[in-house]
Symmetry: C2
Subunit: 387 residues, 2 copies
């Protein structure tokens, strides 16, 4: 298993905290947003004598309500198209395990969520990266470039939409191009749509599952972690109209017996979350994004890919090696006893050398804290570059 | 992924229920025993605003209390020797993933818990079975027989103690023999000890972790599922004093982010379960075992391996093919509208042809129901054998 790019920094962060420094965590995707009360209350009020296994594919009640949630999003699925998983992580593992044999290849636009590497390795498959660029805001690379990478071993293309770490939201046209490509070459299109609810500036999210021509090819990965700020629930799902994918994934699900019961109770109740919860959360994230992005843009030599969704952005810094810079921020710098922790972006790329001058920042802190983070980074870069 | 031997029967059970038959489930390990109130109440009373990720290795609080629980069992470990997992299933996956490469071999006494096959396959490894026999009550096969199976590809021996499906409890002497063997050949000894608390007739459980000479070789698999009747929690753990195993398993843990948070709260509180809970549960299981075993022994041609632990027994029936018999029980037989569902034992063996005249029964029903099950099986065998 490869080591996460962030993990390497953890001992330095711990050391900084021991010395009394305050560390602002821009490095992780753990939102500070409150979990909907309806979800927490459901667990507290549930009358349960035996905490028993649920069905391996998740309770029928939860899957039925989840299908209704998706139908509201123009995704016409039924409970039997859904397998509830232990987080989106397990949904990805099941998807890879169900469609790939050792030696098979999956094409993924980079930069991508670092844990995709672990899940691919665990399935014996290989990632074939295709570069998306900060200059293009990390838009979909040209379809012709994808086509050049397709071999007899290619089984799937994987996208994250909206993207972690890029914050990019694929347009309907980009998704149509991908749809044509996977149908032409008989591949799977896997879309990690866990950030679906987080789209900004009036932009609309299009699910690959809404494209009826893709039914045999599309596998959607989802999770309650970010949607309801329930990362600790560990409930996700795999959704597909392809019966063979579902029946194979079910065998993986049966081997691990069942997803967690308490968390399914919370997740089912979370579907009743009032619409205002999301509008407030989105308003908050837009404010945060604007503070962070606009703030960063005032720093000389800094370039930001403006995110249209999720709560991350990739930031280019005027330094040669962000691994070193991120470590230095923790070990050697503070502004009035405070510093920031960022995720060096090289870990989100497979192609050697890429991302070395980029970092990912998660805007999961409140507006005042984000303002301070910008000040700290501004000052830190001045000191770092003058050394 | 191979199909579970029980899953094949599920459609027949569903069909039987649709026709109005009552089906007694002797086929599954879902206890009817109540979860300790202290565990349920802890979740209800927990004041939680954001259901956040926990540490990938589990919360330090929980691991610290868990280490104290093990020290009470003569297992001298600290929180840093423990990785909390999503059920015992994930602990097995992490263990296999951490010590085995594709093509490696693990020796397992058969019959064994059918899902071991899935976890082995998922790690690209191969199971080498060694037969234990109902005539010997499924005791440890002779060490010389193990030794014959060891090749340069052998990485580990896996035991389940007390055993599912056998109910066999390994003696201190048997464990000592295994300990010498794995040290001699530099192998790992993995012990699935999830049924530790369920030992009967005053028999004592010995953990492989209590053997200090085994520290570099021993990996213990554990789970709250059976111990506290919390199968739906999905909390287990991997325990080892081998630092390299722990650090590799931690990478797998980090890739799936964290174990479920609600369930860790419940599991931590469950450690406060009063001792009477276990003495009452064990008394109940002994009564059930005695009713089932003594009842079965009165049926002509039936042989039972008397279980010393867990809540399963393997039963030899006077039929040629228990796959067929188990299906027939559901499809073609009833006694006053009632029938039983059992697990054909061939699915617990790898060696072709073995276990075809055996079934596994789980005594997870109350005493009255178990008496009825015996009556139904007695009558069913008469009808089946006269056809």
């Amino acid at each position: 298993m490869p080591e996460s790019p962030i993990r390497k920094l953890v001992p330095f962060a711990n050391e900084a905290k021991k010395k009394g420094k305050h560390v602002y965590h821009l490095n992780i995707g753990q939102p500070d947003i409150k979990t909907p009360e309806v979800a927490i209350e459901a667990v507290k009020n549930f009358n349960l004598k035996v905490l028993a296994y649920s069905q391996s594919e998740g309770t029928e009640e939860y899957r039925t309500k989840l299908a209704a949630y998706y139908r509201d999003k123009n995704v016409n699925v039924s409970h039997s198209d859904i397998i509830v998983t232990t987080g989106g992580s397990e949904a990805l593992l099941f998807a890879f395990g169900s469609i790939m044999d050792p030696g098979d290849e999956v094409i993924i636009p980079e930069p991508f969520y670092a844990n995709y590497s672990g899940f691919t390795t665990a399935s014996g498959a290989t990632i074939v990266p295709i570069v998306s660029r900060i200059e293009d805001n990390f838009a979909l690379p040209p379809i012709a470039d994808f086509e050049k990478l397709i071999t007899p071993k290619t089984k799937a293309i994987l996208i994250c939409n909206p993207g972690n770490p890029t914050g990019y939201l694929y347009s309907k046209d980009e998704l149509k191009q991908l749809s044509e490509l996977v149908r032409k070459h008989d591949l799977f299109l896997i879309a990690d749509e866990v950030y679906r609810e987080f789209c900004y500036d009036g932009a609309k999210h299009f699910s690959i599952m809404a494209d009826e021509t893709l039914h045999e090819h599309a596998i959607m990965i989802d999770s309650v972690s970010k949607r309801y700020s329930m990362c600790g629930a560990r409930v996700g799902c795999l959704v597909s109209k392809n019966k063979s994918v579902i029946s194979t994934a079910l065998k993986f699900a049966q081997a691990r017996l069942s997803p967690p019961t308490f968390a399914q109770i919370a997740s089912e109740a979370a579907l009743e979350t009032p619409a205002e919860y999301f509008s407030e959360v989105i308003e908050e994230y837009v404010m945060r994004r604007d503070i962070l992005v606009k703030g960063l843009e005032t720093i000389p030599g800094v370039r930001v890919a403006k995110p249209k969704g999720a709560f991350y952005c990739v930031v280019e810094l005027p330094v040669a090696d962000t691994d070193h810079f991120a470590q230095w921020l923790l070990s050697d710098f503070d502004l009035n006893g405070e510093t920031v922790m960022v995720a060096p972006a090289a870990g989100f790329y497979v192609t050697p050398g890429l991302g070395k001058n980029q970092v990912r920042m998660a805007y999961v802190l409140n507006c005042n804290e984000l303002k301070k983070c910008v000040q700290i980074l501004d000052q830190a870069l001045k000191v770092y570059l003058s050394q």
